[in-house]
C-alpha cells in the first residue's frame, strides 16, 4: 500500500449525482484513484465520460445541481490533510486557488473581459488576504508572466480581448500559479489552439511541473497529448474509471479493450495507418445504461458474463488496474 506521502489527492469510491426533476443522473460512479505527488496525471475520455465532473469535485466547482453523493476526496497538502468533500464553504473558498487552481478550457471566457490582467491578478491576491506592497506585487506579476514568456508590462495593462488565444492561455497559466498552488487542474487547456501553440503550452506546463514540483491533473480527449505529456493516465468511460496505470504500461500493454480501441482509433502521423479501426457503436446514454459492463455493447471481447454483471476493478500488481473481466489477459508481456 502506498503511503500518503506519495499522493497529493485521493479519490475513494466517489460517485457524483446530478439530481434533476424526474430522475437523478449519476455522472461519476464509484471511482477510486490517486493523484501522485509531483506527477502529471491525465484523465482521458470522450465527451460525457465524466472527467470534468470528477476533476471539478476537487475544488467543488461541479456545475449545478451536481454534488458528491458518495465517497471521500482527501487532499494531502503541506499543511496536513483535508477532507475536501466535507470542507465547509468558507474554508473551501480559501482553499480553492491557493492549494488547487485550475486552467480552464476557454481562456477567453475564464478571464473577466472588463478588467485588465493586472486588476484580475490583484483582485485574486487581495481576496486571499495576501498582504504585499505594490512593488512586491508588481515584481511577483512580472516574475510569473516572464515565466510563461510574456511581456509583463504590456500584458498586465491589457484587457483579455487584446491578447491572442495562445497568450490568453498563458495568462491563465500564470494566473493559476499566482498563489503557489500544490496542484493545478488543466481542463483541455489547448482545445481551441493550433498544434504549434499546443506544443508550446505543454512544453511550458511540463517545465512548471518539473521545476516547481507542482502536481497536475490534465483532462483531455486526445490520446496523443497523453502519450507526450502525462506520467499516469486514468481512462474514463460513461462515468467509470475503466483503466488506470502509468502511461507506458497503459499504452504498450493495452490491457483494457476500451483503451486498446481508443489507441487503435487514433491515427498517428508516423505510425501504421493501414490497420486502424473505429470503435463500433456509440457512447453510452447515462440514463439508460446497459446491464453488466457498460462497454460490453461495443466491446470486441464481450462474453456472456459481461452482459449480466458489471466487472470489478482488477489490480494487476504493477500499480495498474482495470475494470474488465479479461483485464491484462491478452498481455503477453512483450508490450514494451
Amino acid at each position: 500500500m502506498q503511503t500518503n506521502r506519495d499522493n497529493i489527492a485521493v479519490f475513494s469510491h466517489v460517485s457524483i449525482d446530478y439530481p434533476l426533476k424526474k430522475y437523478t443522473l449519476r455522472a461519476v460512479t464509484d471511482i477510486t484513484f490517486e493523484l501522485k505527488r509531483g506527477a502529471i496525471t491525465a484523465l482521458v475520455g470522450e465527451s460525457g465520460s465524466g472527467k470534468t465532473t470528477l476533476a471539478s469535485s476537487l475544488i467543488r466547482c461541479i456545475s449545478e445541481p451536481g454534488r458528491v453523493a458518495e465517497g471521500e476526496i482527501t487532499f494531502y497538502g503541506k499543511d496536513g490533510e483535508e477532507r475536501l468533500d466535507l470542507l465547509p464553504d468558507p474554508k473551501m473558498r480559501a482553499f480553492r486557488w491557493s492549494k488547487v487552481s485550475m486552467v480552464f478550457q476557454a481562456a477567453q471566457s475564464a478571464l473577466n473581459p472588463v478588467l485588465t490582467v493586472r486588476e484580475q491578478f490583484t483582485e485574486t491576491l487581495e481576496a486571499h488576504g495576501e498582504k504585499l506592497s505594490k512593488e512586491e506585487r508588481e515584481a511577483k506579476f512580472s516574475d510569473l508572466l516572464g515565466y510563461v514568456k510574456l511581456d509583463a508590462e504590456r500584458v498586465l495593462a491589457s484587457y483579455p480581448h487584446e491578447l491572442s488565444g495562445g497568450m490568453k492561455q498563458r495568462v491563465m497559466i500564470a494566473f493559476a500559479l499566482l498563489l503557489d498552488p500544490e496542484l493545478i487542474i488543466l481542463d483541455e487547456p489547448t482545445t481551441a489552439l493550433d498544434v504549434i501553440t499546443q506544443n508550446y503550452i505543454f512544453t511550458l506546463l511540463k517545465q512548471i511541473n518539473r521545476e516547481k514540483g507542482i502536481s497536475m491533473l490534465l483532462m483531455t480527449h486526445d490520446i496523443s497529448v497523453v502519450a507526450k505529456f502525462a506520467d499516469y493516465v486514468g481512462v474514463m468511460y460513461g462515468g467509470r474509471l475503466m483503466e488506470y496505470g502509468d502511461v507506458r504500461t497503459v499504452f504498450h500493454r493495452r490491457r483494457h479493450p476500451y483503451t486498446a480501441g481508443l489507441i487503435g482509433a487514433t491515427p498517428s502521423i508516423i505510425g501504421d495507418i493501414s490497420e486502424m479501426k473505429p470503435i463500433e457503436g456509440s457512447p453510452p446514454d447515462l440514463l439508460h445504461l446497459p446491464k453488466g459492463c457498460i462497454f460490453a455493447p461495443r466491446c470486441p471481447r464481450c462474453s456472456d458474463v459481461c452482459l449480466t454483471e458489471e466487472p470489478p476493478m482488477r489490480e494487476y500488481g504493477d500499480g495498474s488496474k482495470g475494470k474488465c473481466y479479461f483485464f491484462g489477459e491478452a498481455d503477453d508481456g512483450k508490450g514494451n
Binding site: 465527451s47 498544434v195 506544443n199 507506458r248 499504452f251 505510425g271 461495443r298
Partner: protein, 349 residues
Amino acid sequence: MEKATEQAKTPLMRLKGINMVFKKPGALFADKNIHVLKDIDLEIGEKEIVALVGESGCGKTTLGKIITGLYRPTSGEVYFEGERVSGTFDKKISSYNQVQFIQQDSYAALNPVRTIYQSLYAPIKTHNRKWSRARIDERIEELMGLIGLLPSAQFLSKYPHQLSGGQRQRILMARAISLEPKLIVADEPVSMIDVSLRLSLLNLMKELNEKLDMSFVYISHDLSTTRYIAHSGRVAVMYLGEIVEVGKIGDVIASPRHPYTRALLQAVPIPDPDFKGNDELPLKSMQLGSLENRGEGCSFFDRCLYADDACRKKFGPVKTETAEVLCCGLDRVPTAPVFEKIIQTEENS
C-alpha cells in the same frame, strides 16, 4: 498559349491568383485592409483528395468557401471543369451545385426546427423540380443507406438536437452528396466528434471518394487525420493566407521543405509515450504575423530561423523534386527529415 494548356489538362477545379481582402473598420476613414488570402494557385483533380492544413487564421476556411462559391474572391479566377465560375456568379450561382460544403459545427449547420427528413428533402426538391415525392423519398432512403444510418425511419423524423454529433455529421454528409456533386469541401468535419467515432466518419469519406468518384477538399489543422484520409492525395500547407508548400502528403511528411512545415510537423503529438521528439520547435517566435497591410516579402520572415535580407523581396514558389515550396532561401533550410522513421502505407491510387 495559356489557353491551350488549360484545355489540355482541365482539372476539376482550378484556382488562379486568388486574393481575398476583408475590410476591417477602423477609426474614421482609417479602415484597415486584412489580406486573408494572397496569390493562391491550386488545382484539384478528379477523384482527388486535397487537404488544406494550417493554424487557425491561416485562411483555410476562407479558401474553402471560395471554392464552394460562398465567397467571391477580391481578385483571381476560379475555374470549374475549365469553365470560369468566379465573376459570372450572380447568374450561375443557382446551378453551381457540383461543389458542396460540409461545415464544422453540425449543430449550427442544420435547421433546428426542421426534421432531418425536411433538411434532406429541400435541396433535392430545389434542384429537381420535376421529381415526385416518391422518387425523392427513394433517393433519401438510398442516401441514408450510404451514410450507414439505418433503419432510416428512426432518424428521418427526428430533429437535429435528438441526434448525436456523429449522426448529425453523417446527415450533413448525406445532404452534401444528395445532389451528386463532383467535389465536396469538408471543413474540419471531425474536430467536434469523439475519438472513437472519428475514424468511421473518415472511412465514410474515403468510401465516397472511392465508390462515387467524388473529389474532396479536406480542411483541418490536424495532420494525423489528414494523413489518414488523404494518404494517397496531396496536402497544401497554408500560412497567413499563402500556400507555402504543396505536394503528395507522404512526401511532405517524409521530407518537408518549407521551414514552417518543418515546425508544424515537429509540433504534432505522437501517440507513443516512448517517442522522443524535440520540444524546441525551429521557430524564432511564437507570435503569428499580422494580416494587416502586408508587404511583398516573405510572410514567415519574423518567425523563420533561416531568413535573411533577400527574403524581404517578392518571390514565387520553387519546384523541388517532390513539392512546390514558397520559400526564397531553400538552400539554407535543413533537408534532414523531421521524423526518423515513418511507417508508410503502400497504396497507389
